[in-house]
Subunit: 78 residues, 2 copies
Amino acid sequence: MKVTVLVRLKSEVLDPQGDAVRRALDKLGFNGVRSVRVGKLIEIDVDERVAGADIKEHLAKMADEMLANPVIEDYEVV
Amino acid sequence: MKVTVLVRLKSEVLDPQGDAVRRALDKLGFNGVRSVRVGKLIEIDVDERVAGADIKEHLAKMADEMLANPVIEDYEVV
């Protein structure tokens, strides 16, 4: 079973990587870019027989403990 | 206008970061994870008046030139 976890910096956390991308786009001539935020796209192939019925809970635990830093990031299991 | 660009490594490209995450999950006791691939989630706030009507094309050009490395990565504008 394939699941996707999207990890985003919380909106109150500065994103220097995103700002660098925004400036670079501007220099390349792409005007009108107001802001850029860079997060992570994590695609996981899980064996559903092992993860069990509570797979959503299992994935949330994974994201909390390993995939995202809950102090500065939010995640979403898709 | 907010748009999301998903950047993934092409399937034939090795992903050492994803492999490290898979091994770490296994060590933390999350069994049954077959594979992990890590990509980028880029959220862009574009001024649609500047980008014009061909905003999809504008974004595809951005992704080709700056957001993704077309040699090893694929992108998707959502």
